[in-house]
Every structure is written in C-alpha cells, then in structure tokens.
C-alpha cells in the first residue's frame, strides 16, 4: 500500500510528489473539520473566544461552526453535561454523519469537574459517547482548545483506511449510534454505556 519512505523523499527531492490515497484523504479531512456550534456552559465562551480574532481558529480550517449536526464533523462538548442534557448530547452525536469526532472540553465534560458531587451532573460525557481528545482546565484557555485541535488533526492523520486497526467509520461492524439514556425516577437509565466506558480500576489498599 505505502511506498518506501526513502524512495518517497528521493522522489520529492527530484520534484515528484507522491502520496497515498489514505494520506490524501486524511489531509483533506484534517484541514476541513467543521465543529458543531454547541456550547453548554462556561467553556463555550472560551470556544467562541478561540474562534475570534485573537486566537483565530480559522487557521486550522475549523472556523465554520455548523448549527446543524448534519453538517458537522466534530462535537466540542464545551461545558458541564447535566443529566437532563445528556440524552440531548447523545442524540445530537447520533445525528452527526460519520466520520465524527468528539473533543471533551474542560473538567466538567471530562469528569464532572468541580460540580462532580452534583446530583444532576453527569460525571463525564465519555460515559455515553467515545471521546477523542480531552482538554483539562476549568475552563481551558483558547490556546488549549487550539492544542486539542492539533492533537485531533494528528489523530485524523494517523487513521487507517483498511486493516483491522482502521478507523471506526470504515468498519461496518462498529456502531455509529450509541444508546440514548432515558430519564429515570432518580437517575438516568442506564447510568453509563458499558460498551464505551468502564469504571477505572481501583488498586488494592486504597
């Protein structure tokens, strides 16, 4: 599939550029990531700030914030996901077309953050949907979001078109929709999606 690196660099020195279909595809994808216009809480303001003049998200080809999930590639979960909001987040994620990526922005989206003890706060959006990049911080600075973007771009660049380790959207068996939790009498039902998230291990003696 891929050509020898040495040959490729030799060719490029002679003015002949070679690429693979995979490389071309990933190059196009990573430079045109369209995020979903999706602000939940405080982090959304920093997300807006990142798209404004000083930080200028447009440099990464990602300034086109789409209000509709049908046109978006990337969901930036910017802020606290409450239990009341979690079904909506999962539904919006399901409604996005493949390939789709998720950035969990801020401590709340990762784990509940400072509001972790809250009865209505989801302890991390990765309980229901797969997250590609986590950004710590409360809220993360716009630079952190830019860094997350570049991390995501590297991740997209490394995606395989075929083979057993190919990206999820190339795999016919991998799910594209994830179960949406229901409102229960005391809590969301189920409280987590076992296929996506298991509780982290506890070491003996702690």
């Amino acid at each position: 599939m891929s050509i020898d690196e040495g040959l490729r660099s030799e060719l490029s020195r002679q003015g002949i550029f070679t690429t693979t279909l995979e490389g071309l595809y990933n190059w196009g994808r990573r430079n045109s990531v369209w995020p979903l216009n999706f602000g939940l809480a405080c982090c959304a303001i920093e997300m807006i700030a990142a798209s404004m003049a000083r930080f200028d998200l447009a440099r990464f080809g990602a300034e086109v914030f789409r209000p509709s999930p049908r046109q978006a590639d990337l969901m930036i979960v910017a802020g606290t996901v409450t239990k009341k909001m979690a079904p909506m987040v999962v539904r919006l994620y399901n409604q996005m077309p493949e390939p789709k990526y998720v950035i969990a922005m801020g401590a709340c989206a990762i784990s509940g953050g400072p509001f972790k003890q809250g009865y209505n706060v989801l302890k991390g959006i990765d309980r229901y949907i797969p997250v590609d990049v986590h950004i710590p911080g409360c809220p993360p600075r716009p630079e952190a979001l830019l860094h997350a973007f570049m991390t995501l771009q590297r991740k997209i660049d490394a995606q395989k078109l075929s083979g057993s380790d190919r990206a999820r959207h190339f795999d016919a068996q991998a799910p594209s929709e994830f179960p949406i939790p229901q409102y229960g009498q005391h809590d969301l039902e189920p409280p987590r999606n076992e296929a996506v998230w298991r509780p982290p291990a506890m070491r003996r003696g702690e």
Binding site: K84, K116, Q117, N120, H186, R192, P199, A201
Partner: protein
Amino acid sequence: MSPLDQVVARIGAAIPGARVQILPNDSPSGQHSLLVDHEHAVAVAKFLRDDPDLQLDHLANVTGVDWLDATVKEKAKVRKVINGAEKEVEETLERKKPGFLEAVYHLYSIARNHGPVILRLRTGNRIDQVRVPSLTPIWRGAEFQEREIYDLYGIVFDGHPDLRRILMWDEFQDHPMRKDYVEPDDYEYEPTAHDKVLEKAKKHHTAADRPQL
C-alpha cells in the same frame, strides 16, 4: 420605613385575624422576618404591596428552606430531692422539634426605596402537610422561583398558575435540595478533594464490579 413592629401592628389593623409574628435575626445583618399564617398570607402580601407607606412592589427573592426534625437541648433548673435535701439542679432536657419546610420572600420597595421586609411561610411538616398559598398572583416575579421551590423542596403552592417541575425532568421523583436527599450512587473512584465523594466511590466499587488489573 417604620420599624417592623409598627408594620405588624398596621397589618393587624388592616387585616383582622391575621397572625403575624416577628422572627428575630441575631446576625449583624439585622434582617428580621415576619412569619405569616396561611389563611391571610395573600391578603397580607397584597396589603404590603398596595399600602401607600410601604409599597413593597419589588419581590427580590423567593427561597425554600428545609428544616429537619431536630432535638433541642435545653438547660432548665429543676428542684429535686437529692440525699434528702431539696436542691435546685441544672438539667438538660431534650425536646423534639418537628421539622418543616419554609418559603422565604424578600420584599423591597422601588417606589420608596426601602427594604427588605422578609415574609416566611411554613408548612405543617415535611411529609404530607406541604401546602402553602402561592404569592404569584400578587407578585408575578415569584412564578419561576416558586416552581423551583416546588421542584427542589416539594412545597406545593396553592394558587400557582403553572406548578410543574422546572429544573429537573418531569419523571424525577425526589426533591433534591432537601437535606435528607440521597444522591444516585454512581461515582467512579479517583483521587478527589471531596472526602464524601471518595467514601461513596469506595462503597460503590465492590470487588465484582471492579475491572481486574
């Protein structure tokens, strides 16, 4: 504004039968409050709003408070016969104080620029006598706040135009701001600054549940 006892006297004069009681507040803020009975609460509120001297037209804040059942320890001097001689002895008596829910209204006047006058409405207990009259017909600003108290504390406001849950979803059954509310037990373990969270996490992750290292 005239002192609170004069306000109470004027309420008594204007609304016969109204039982209004001053609850003192010991803190430096000195914001004392008025406990109003259920039957006359709406009339008292209307009087406070419309009285030309008071004109409390701005309802700043409506709050619920949950007071749990408590045992109050009181020291009392009791005469007792000890060793044949009658003596006065100090003893601590325990008295059960039944809990209740409380709705607190903070009133200010925009027209006359004074305040706050604080009204309190109390329910009979925390379980079945949880109804108080709604003051939304007098001050529209109470609408969402009373809904919130209904949602989080479970006080039912009689006469509220649209009493539904506001913050939690409709299927939710508990009243989470009550002091004895038990949260859903779904914490994962991680080092955290909150000891209570840690306790819960340890309880939650039984050996079977735990993925093997």
